[in-house]
């Protein structure tokens, strides 16, 4: 398992819904790279050209509200984003994120983060370090059930392993 995730911050507001992450018309697609090419197309068209591997989204409350489309976290992950930090998540989005290997952290102090801050998420210690601002935050690690799934890279490899063991 990746012990730490490093990248620069992309900031988003409250109630970012799955339709804003990946518009409904692309939900007919299944290829993750194709999905990534349309991520945030309506609300932040410049996002996909700026994002680099490992970067981290920091958002407000209720991130990923709306539909159950897994296309949303997939589009984010395959754009290069390694984790999403938010004040709160919509339930299915959170599950979907863990299930496809996109790390998701709930943190109340997201307002202190600025666009382009360089940050590190330390998964072993449950810490977020903001290098730009010289601040450190603690977060509660997800339940073991989720960490196990995440450690395998998502629920598909996890299930694969589980079934092979049987």
């Amino acid at each position: 398992m990746n012990k730490s995730l490093n990248g620069k911050v992309f900031k988003f507001g409250d109630d970012i819904d799955t339709g804003q992450i990946i518009p409904g018309k692309y939900v007919v697609l299944t290829d993750p790279d194709e999905l990534a090419s349309h991520v945030f197309e309506d609300i932040a068209p410049e996002f996909k050209s700026k994002v680099e591997l490992g970067d981290i989204i920091v958002a407000g409350k209720n991130f990923g509200t709306g539909s159950s489309r897994e296309h949303a976290p997939k589009a984010i992950k395959f754009s290069g984003i390694s984790a999403v930090i938010a004040k709160s998540f919509a339930r299915i989005f959170y599950r979907n994120a863990i299930n496809i290997g996109l790390f998701a952290i709930t943190l109340p102090q997201v307002d202190e983060f600025k666009e382009n801050d360089q940050i590190t998420i330390n998964l072993n210690e449950g810490k977020v370090i903001n290098h730009t601002q010289g601040k450190e935050y603690e977060f509660e690690l997800p339940h073991k059930v989720m960490l196990d799934i995440f450690a395998e890279g998502g629920i598909i490899p996890f299930t694969k392993k589980e079934l092979n063991l049987k």
């Binding site: 018309k25 007919v28 159950s68 489309r69 299915i92 599950r95 979907n96 059930v145 629920i155 598909i156």
Partner: protein, 419 residues
């Protein structure tokens, strides 16, 4: 401390009591995927490499989002799902034109009280109206359930919603939902269960309960649930199915209680661009909100009760010139009933379009798309930016009576004057 409805359902399934915050593994009684999430589900299932489904009899496929076969990619997806269903023995396959998934599983009595029902649609919570635990998951997770027959669930906290009084004329489950959204706000019930009950519940029909539970998703709820009372028993009796009543214990475990007085409830409208941006029709005053389109459709407002009241309002009247009206019944059997009862004819005479049962207009899936600066009222559940087309288009959410009355006047209108 006694049990709430959700705990009773899990206790029965697991043969032991469950605690809040506990993580359990459970075999769902029924699962469903549709043509929107299905293609990714079967793709991931094939990635797992399992050679069979854990139990094909418990799997439902519904073609409802991109129908009838509306783009090339959509039809190719339908074709893939048909082939997959055939290969793995999924016989509960509802093809193009049968209707919207949440309505179909209820109409065909596939979902029953006390079940655990998991589906790849956020509005799966709709089925909680019938006294079961219903919630949505994503495609990969469904692929994993297909292979293993189990899912992990964290036992959530429950908020009690007590309904008192009686639903008034022109007021429906949709309005209870909008009232709750006004109180709780979007995301305000994240991960929680909303359990309905109280003396007013008996005045709320199954159709209204379904719209209400459905929209609890917009508050972030993991699920919403009604007791299995006389209303539910009668609903199943009409389908020739006997079910047992189920109520929570008097001292059930709740983190809070919200009381909604149905006597005071009016028809409500959610204004752009959030379902919790709610105003009542009587607050409109002299403000005029003109409409280019009115939609009666989707899983939150195209059931018999909705179409019937819309027809009563539109009978002998005309949709305002300059306003388009689109009616999309939730299922084919419902469409048939409405044609036989003259309801469809009433719509057509009023100048409305009637379309094939599907999710269609809810998310701009191939019909009723609105352009920049246009305004539409809809019985759908979401009015996010660009949900029905252009980012600048205004979407108002309401019950079917309000949508029908507003179509006649070409602007947001209190339906009660037509009833």
């Amino acid at each position: 401390m006694g049990s709430n409805l959700m705990k009773k359902i899990f206790a029965k399934k697991l043969g032991r009591e469950v605690k809040v915050e506990e993580i359990i593994y459970i075999e769902p009684d029924l699962v469903m995927t549709h043509d929107h999430q299905g293609p990714m589900t079967i793709r991931e299932f094939e990635n797992i490499g399992a050679d069979s489904l854990w139990n094909p009899d418990k799997v439902i496929f519904v073609m409802d989002h991109r129908t009838p076969s509306q783009t090339l990619v959509a039809v190719e997806n339908h074709q893939k799902l048909r082939k997959f269903a055939k290969k793995y023995g999924v016989t509960k396959f509802f093809d193009v034109g049968e209707g919207v998934c949440h309505d179909l599983v209820a109409e065909k009595a596939l979902v029953r009280p006390e079940m655990v029902y998991i589906a790849t649609d956020s509005h799966t919570v709709t089925e909680g109206a019938l006294g079961l635990f219903a919630t949505g998951v994503g495609s990969s997770e469904m692929a994993s359930i297909f292979a293993t027959g189990r899912v992990w669930l964290k036992i959530p906290e429950t908020i009690k919603v007590t309904l008192k009084g009686t639903l008034q004329k022109g007021v429906y489950g949709k309005d209870i939902a909008l009232r709750l959204l006004e109180i709780i706000k979007t995301g305000g019930a994240d991960y929680k269960v909303l359990e309905f009950g109280g003396p007013g519940a008996s005045s709320v029909s199954v159709a209204s309960r379904m719209s209400l539970c459905n929209m609890c998703l917009e508050m972030g709820a993991k699920t919403a649930i009604f007791p299995v009372d006389n209303v539910t028993v009668e609903y199943y009796k009409e389908k020739g199915v006997g079910v047992q009543e189920l109520y929570p214990d008097e001292d059930g475990e709740y983190i809070s209680e919200i009381i909604v007085d149905l006597d005071q409830l009016e028809p409500l409208i959610a204004f752009p661009f959030s379902p919790d941006n709610v105003r009542s029709v009587s607050q409109l005053g002299d403000d005029v909100y003109e409409l280019n389109q009115s939609v009666i459709g989707t899983c939150t407002g195209a059931r018999y009760e909705d179409l019937k009241v819309a027809a009563d309002i539109l009978k002998g009247r005309q949709v305002k010139s300059g306003t388009r009206m689109l009616i999309v019944p939730a299922t084919k059997d419902l469409m048939l009933r409405c044609t036989q009862e003259g309801i469809i004819e009433t719509f057509l005479k009023a100048g409305a379009m009637v379309n094939v049962p599907c999710c269609g207009p809810c998310g701009a899936y191939g019909m009723g798309v609105v352009a920049e600066d246009e305004s539409t009222i809809t019985t759908g559940s979401r009015n996010f930016v660009a949900r029905m087309g252009a980012p600048g288009a205004h979407i108002y959410l309401s019950n079917a009576a309000t949508a029908a009355a507003s179509a006649i006047e070409g602007k947001l209108t209190d339906p009660r004057k037509y009833l």
